[in-house]
């Protein structure tokens, strides 16, 4: 993957998917949890956007809001827009919106076993995509299913088309899920922690497959993950989320070499490294905030080693660090230069 200068979409320049100032809250008995607070990102054709963050940072909820599969109640989109090729998905009636799912925007999930219907064979489930959306006959839909299984490199696809999800290994199941997601040639594919449930060697294969499929069809890929290692090789841009907001976004090279937010810095420092054998693993101290009681000021301030009074008082906006590189830290400049801490 060739890397282009920061801020440049890697290939086709048309904005596919724009998320603007998205707010999602969960109304529960205990109170209102602000899961997503003003997330903004743009995805272009052929671009891979990695959304990075700990559990509970709002990355999956953002994806669910984009897809329109948020459980309502308790989840509500309270503000913002999600535009697909300029068309706002959020104001759309459900019937119309459904036609976007699968066909325009598709999604794959973390646990492929539980994401596949246990009572139908995988071939049946892939074929279902063609039968429902394109009204194809049973026979030709099944032929397409085999074709797709071959495309996601499932060995002996023809023989295995009648097998059930539980008869496949984790990596193969994820491939089947991917096959279903790309069946209708969507423009955007959202992968919600696609490799988390897999072991390391299989992770790499699945990521490679996603990358290849993306290159074949020039689709936009949103990769939701908490694993920086997975992201490094495949992503073009990275958005780091914390407590439901984006704290830093940058070109992948920039973020690794020159993070401008202490949280990103901490994440990078926490990657276990083989050349640091014997040393203690680094961890960001503290735990992510309770989304019902997000601390005043910068939400990261209780865990931040650079925190000053201003951090406890004012929530920092996204500052421009560089072209396409933005950081929500009062001390972005110092963190970026390494002149602090």
């Amino acid at each position: 993957m060739d890397k282009l200068p920061a801020g440049q979409p890697s290939r086709g320049s048309a904005a596919l998917l724009e998320v603007e100032d998205l707010h999602v809250e969960f109304r529960t008995r205990e109170g209102v949890a602000h899961a997503v607070n003003g997330v903004t990102y743009t995805l272009h054709e052929g671009e891979t956007l990695a959304v990075l963050g700990e559990s509970g940072s709002g990355k999956s909820v953002t994806a669910q809001a984009i897809m329109g599969i948020l459980d309502t109640p308790p989840g509500f989109v309270t503000r913002g827009e999600v535009r697909f090729r300029g068309e706002n998905l959020l104001g759309m009636p459900e019937d119309k919106r459904r036609t976007f799912r699968g066909r325009r925007i598709a999604m794959i999930f973390q646990d492929a076993l539980s994401s596949l219907n246990p009572v139908f064979s995988v071939g049946w489930q892939i074929a279902e995509m063609f039968r429902v959306h394109e009204g194809m006959s049973k026979k030709s839909a099944l032929a397409k299913a085999v074709e797709l299984m071959e495309r996601v490199r499932i060995p002996a696809a023809k023989q295995r088309v009648g097998d059930y999800p539980h008869q496949f290994s984790g990596g193969m199941r994820q491939r089947i899920m991917i096959a279903m997601a790309i069946a209708l040639d969507p423009d955007v594919l959202i992968a919600d922690e696609p490799t988390t449930a897999l072991d390391v060697t299989v992770q790499a294969q699945v990521m490679l497959l996603l990358k290849e499929l993306q290159q074949e069809s020039n689709m936009g890929l949103i990769l939701i993950t908490h694993d920086l290692g997975v992201v490094a090789d495949v992503a073009d841009t990275i958005s780091v989320m914390y407590a439901g907001r984006i704290v830093e976004r940058a070109d992948v090279m920039n973020i690794y070499s020159n993070p401008a937010h202490p949280y990103t810095e901490g994440l990078i420092a926490s990657i276990p490294r083989i050349d640091m054998k014997g040393q203690e693993l680094y961890a960001i101290k503290g735990i992510p905030p309770n989304l019902m009681h997000v601390p005043a000021g910068c939400p990261f301030n209780p865990r931040c080693r650079y925190a000053q009074d201003i951090c406890r008082a004012d929530d920092p906006p996204l500052y421009d660090v560089d072209r396409g590189h933005r950081s929500a830290c009062h001390f972005w400049k110092e963190v970026h230069d390494g002149s602090i801490g």
Binding site: L113, F120, S121, W124, V132, G162, Y164, Q167, S169
Partner: protein, 326 residues
């Protein structure tokens, strides 16, 4: 009521235990290399392939076919009619001429049992079918829609659930008396209606909880994310995964309905002569159980075999619908 209550209660933990069992299997066999068939397979086709070789299914299906044939064409099994009675043979025990013996009126018990199959099986099968459809519909709507729809349906279920089946059935039957010349089919349908009006609640409750469980499954969300319509989600993703406990409960309830019909007949409220049924025969025989046990034995035996056959069938069908057990 108590029979059905007990069966519902007994099945709920079984169903839960069952799903844990499945998980255990699936983790034990991740990606078992599979001999390929390469054939397009559907749920129904696979279930049939599985059933064809399942001895429990074969035995129960054979029994049910025999019983249904008996119900439809009793003339094939006996040359006599239930009307031909010979009082000189009143309560005569089994012999080589009449293997089952004779009842109080001197009717051949074998003939009575054969002819009784129709009413008993009709009551059991019809009541089960109607409660299954009614209860499933209520349970699916309540479980899938949630919110106030769920509240209304659930409270309605509770109201009906609070009325004991037998007592309620007595009331319904009592409220709609049949004049003496009523055709027997109407008498049978009246009992079926009485059972169905009150019997759908356990099915609805189990279906509702089953649907709520399945609704939260990841594959339902995945199906939504890939653009499936609500109807499709219910029919293809929720129903096939939620139906197993209901099938088991219903097949067990089938026996219960036949038993309640027998009780109603015993009280003189259910099926009444000229309709012959196992329930009528059992209630008549119960008076003479100490002097002529054969009168009770044979209709009861057929009742038990029928109930057992349907339970076995339900069990086999449930297993066949679960690919993980294959």
């Amino acid at each position: 009521m108590s029979d059905i209550d007990a069966s519902a209660a007994a099945t709920a933990p079984t169903a839960r235990g069952g799903s844990q069992h499945h998980e255990a299997i699936s983790t034990a066999l991740p990606g078992r290399p599979q001999e390929g068939h390469g054939e397009p397979r559907s749920l129904g086709k696979d279930a049939w392939l599985d059933l064809r070789t399942n001895p429990i299914f074969l035995i129960s299906a054979t029994l049910i076919v025999v019983l249904l044939t008996m119900a439809m064409f009793p003339g094939l099994f006996t040359s006599q009619t239930p009307e031909s009675a010979d009082l000189t043979k009143s309560r005569v025990g089994p012999s080589s001429q009449a293997w089952f013996g004779y009842d109080l009126q001197g009717n051949d018990i074998y003939t009575l049992t054969v002819y009784g199959a129709r009413a008993s099986i009709m009551v059991g099968v019809l009541a089960t079918t109607i409660t299954l459809l009614l209860g499933s519909l209520a349970g699916i709507v309540a479980g899938y829609a949630g919110g106030w729809v769920d509240s209304v349906i659930s409270r309605l279920t509770d109201v009906f659930y609070a009325i004991p089946l037998l007592l309620g059935a007595i009331l319904v039957v009592f409220a709609f008396p049949t004049p003496p010349e009523t055709p027997s089919i109407v008498i049978i349908l009246r009992v079926v209606a009485a059972l169905a009006i009150l019997g759908w609640t356990p099915v609805a409750r189990i279906m509702r909880s089953s649907v709520i469980g399945v609704k939260q499954a990841d594959y339902v969300q995945a199906a939504r994310a890939l653009g499936a319509s609500p109807v499709r989600i219910v029919l293809r993703h929720i129903l096939p995964n939620a139906v197993a406990p209901v099938i088991v409960v219903s097949t067990i309830a089938l026996g219960g309905y036949i038993a309640v019909e027998a009780t109603l007949s015993f009280l003189g409220l259910g099926l009444t002569p000229p309709v012959v049924s196992w329930g009528v025969a059992i209630s008549e025989a119960s008076t003479f159980v100490r002097v002529s046990p054969h009168m009770l034995l044979f209709p009861s035996l057929f009742l038990s075999i029928t109930v057992l056959a349907f339970i076995m069938l339900g069990d086999a069908v449930r297993d066949a619908l679960d690919p993980k057990l294959r």
